[in-house]
């Protein structure tokens, strides 16, 4: 067991991948000399040199596209976009190139690029720096989208992503970087295909991912004191979604609350609700409920931001209401 932060776990994952495979390199704004805007890559420049820890200009479209091109050219690039907010400038490359090339070329070209970015709100960074758009990306065929919430996944998903011949987007919730935890001895690559039950419970399925996972687990603890047993599902992979794990849980609990930091309309939570409608309608004892961010540009002021984003007490309140609702 090693105690480390989520940030350290990502760094160790990068380091390990770079040590094992000379085709792997890290590229992005301030990943080198600055040490990464979240200090994820601190120390890696010294270890691997500036060819492989590659600072880029502020040119999101070009360096993301260059990552795609380098993948076409046989490398295994890890492209860091500082935050999801700036990824909008690179969206054309991601959606029109990375996601299409394999299919459009009749299977001739694969694009094994990994694109990491920080996501989420909660740090009082206001409207342009607080997006949660991972669910949006999960709309696009040709992409894989994952959101490691735990230290083990922060460490284990990257190597698996690098093994994939397809573009993988990794969303790291910015509030998780400081989280401390244990990494079991011999921890290694984790899969990118399955959701996991992080806590079992019979009364309600609480489906979430990323930054909201720990709020959900906290809520579950609170509810447990009142005898409400909540099953907490960490989606882990947002595209493809693991329907099997979701539906199995629904079959057990018959009630579902989805917690998603994205704006409600058109969020990933909508897709999950629609799938439960399609696959488990007759198992439900109550309509699936969603708790998402308010549909506003995220404001700076602490109390407003807090109100805009799902919090533990909101989860508790929603869950309680859902469980006590009649059949």
């Amino acid at each position: 067991m090693t105690t480390l932060t989520y940030r350290d776990a990502v760094r160790e994952a990068i380091r390990g991948a770079m040590q094992r495979d000379p085709r792997v390199f890290l590229m992005g704004e301030d990943v080198g000399r600055y040490g990464g805007s979240f200090a994820v890559s601190k120390g890696l420049l010294e270890e691997f040199g500036e060819e492989r820890i590659r600072d880029t200009p502020l040119s999101e479209s070009a360096f993301v596209g260059a990552g795609i091109g380098a993948a076409l050219g046989g490398m295994r690039p890890i492209v860091e976009i500082m935050t999801v907010n700036f990824s909008l400038l690179a969206l054309d490359q991601i959606v029109n190139n990375a996601a299409t090339l394999c299919h459009m070329s009749g299977g001739q070209f694969a694009v094994p690029v990994v694109i990491r970015m920080a996501t989420g709100g909660g740090r009082q960074l206001a409207a342009q720096h607080s997006h949660s758009l991972e669910g949006w990306y999960a709309h696009v065929p040709g992409l894989r989208v994952v959101a490691p919430a735990t230290i083990e996944d922060a460490f284990g998903m990257l190597p698996t992503a690098l093994q994939k011949p397809d573009p993988v987007l990794i969303f790291e919730h910015a509030l998780l970087y400081n989280m401390k935890g244990e990494l079991p001895e011999g921890a290694g690559p984790t899969d990118l295909d399955r959701a996991v039950v992080r806590r079992a419970g019979a009364h309600l399925s609480l489906i979430t991912y990323g930054g909201s996972l720990f709020k959900a687990l906290d809520a579950a603890q609170v509810l447990a004191k009142d005898g409400i047993e909540v099953e907490v599902i960490d989606l882990r992979t947002l595209r493809p979604l693991d329907d099997e794990t979701i539906m199995a849980s629904v079959a057990r609990t018959r009630r579902v609350l989805i917690v998603d930091e994205g704006w409600k309309s058109g969020s990933l939570s909508a897709e999950i609700s629609a799938r439960i409608m399609e696959q488990a309608f007759y198992e439900l004892d109550a309509p699936v409920a969603r708790l998402c961010s308010a549909e506003v540009p995220i404001p700076y002021a602490a109390h407003l931001e807090r109100a805009a984003i799902p919090q533990t007490d909101d989860i508790v309140a929603h869950a309680r209401r859902l469980v006590t609702r009649g059949v």
Binding site: R33, Y34, L58, S59, A126, H129, A294, A301
Partner: protein, 339 residues
């Protein structure tokens, strides 16, 4: 080096710069005390640019700035109280507490932010100038950004558009040599920024950004030319930020010695030295101005602290300007008719 014009004017410039410096020093205090949160980017070291440029603008010109905009906002004449209130997330803040340090907005002085996406303000400035040109209003839109923005595609698209359509934009590049931790040599194949603008066929100059007499003079010349209908102009001000990029930056990427060297050329220091050399003033003037500024800043802090928090049930007001629930908020979309 241009001569000092008059003691009065020189002291005005000094005061304008010192107000910014002292304001930001106070911000650091409040940040440490967790009264200010989020990202905060200090302007200290670059004050001569905001002061010189804002002095060249008329009240009905427009300003589009970045997240490092305290200096521009103050020099533009926006009250320190409402700015500080914004940083404290108060309703009395310039943006009602919704924007914070990176998003100062003020319709009255046509201050269009406070934009936190690098390069994102340039197209807005082009559009504001287009509106003026199409409406046959002789106004200038001043667009401020760092040298880091030069690598963004939007920089080029915007310069081309402004030059192609001969729009009244003053592009102001604050070249402080670093974009976060990235030195300009690591981000531009050709580091002479002002030449890039010249490549679009607009007037372009590189100016010492540490000497407020120079910054003001260059801005005035550029604005005059733009008002004359010559299309856009570009000024690259060579400057340096004395503080970290933001409050989270460990400054691993630059030498302390380099910072110290630049501090020797600090804009306040430079102007005081010039005042003294010209026999027009002394260090005592500075001391007096600082004291004055501190009084103003204390009042601003008091104003901000006394401010209120926006009720949470107003959270979704102004997501849409035509939302009926907006009506009960005092701040009303003032700019709807373009005046």
């Amino acid at each position: 080096m241009r001569p000092l014009v008059s003691r009065t004017h020189a002291l005005e410039l000094l005061r304008a710069m010192v107000r910014i410096t002292r304001f930001e020093e106070k911000c650091v205090e409040l940040y440490s005390a967790a009264e200010i949160r989020g990202f905060m980017h200090l302007y200290i070291g670059e004050e001569a640019i905001a002061v010189g440029v804002m002095n060249a603008l008329s009240p009905d010109d427009a300003v589009v700035a970045t997240y490092r905009e305290h200096g521009h906002a103050i020099a533009r004449g926006i009250g320190m109280g409402p700015i500080m209130a914004e940083m404290l997330g108060r309703r009395e803040g310039v943006s009602g507490g919704r924007g914070g340090s990176m998003h100062l907005f003020d319709a009255a002085s046509r201050f269009y932010g406070g934009n936190a996406i690098v390069g994102g303000g340039l197209p807005l400035a082009v559009g504001l100038a287009l509106a003026d040109k199409m409406s046959k209003r002789n106004r200038v839109t001043c667009c401020i950004f760092g040298e880091g923005a030069v690598a963004e595609g939007e920089f080029h698209e915007s310069l081309n558009l402004a030059a192609l359509w001969r729009l009244p934009v003053l592009f102001v590049c604050e070249n402080n040599l670093y974009a976060m931790g990235t030195a300009i040599e690591r981000s531009e194949s050709v580091t002479d920024i002002h030449q890039k603008a010249a490549a679009y066929g607009m007037t372009s100059e590189a100016i010492d950004g540490m000497d407020v007499i120079e910054t003001e003079d260059a801005a005035k010349r550029a604005v005059e030319q733009i008002r004359g209908g010559a299309g856009p102009a570009f000024i690259e001000y060579r400057t340096y930020r004395f503080r970290a990029h933001s409050m989270f930056d460990a400054e691993l990427y630059r030498d302390k010695a380099e910072v110290e060297q630049w501090k020797e050329r600090g804009p306040v220091k430079t102007l005081v030295a010039r005042l003294e050399a010209a026999g027009l003033g002394s260090h005592d003037d500075l001391t007096a101005i600082e004291a004055e500024a501190d009084v103003e800043i204390e009042a601003a802090v008091a104003f901000a602290r006394a401010g209120t928090l926006e009720p949470i049930d107003e959270l979704s007001c102004f997501v849409y300007a035509d939302d009926a629930q907006n009506a009960h908020i005092a701040t009303i979309a003032r700019c709807m008719d373009g005046e």
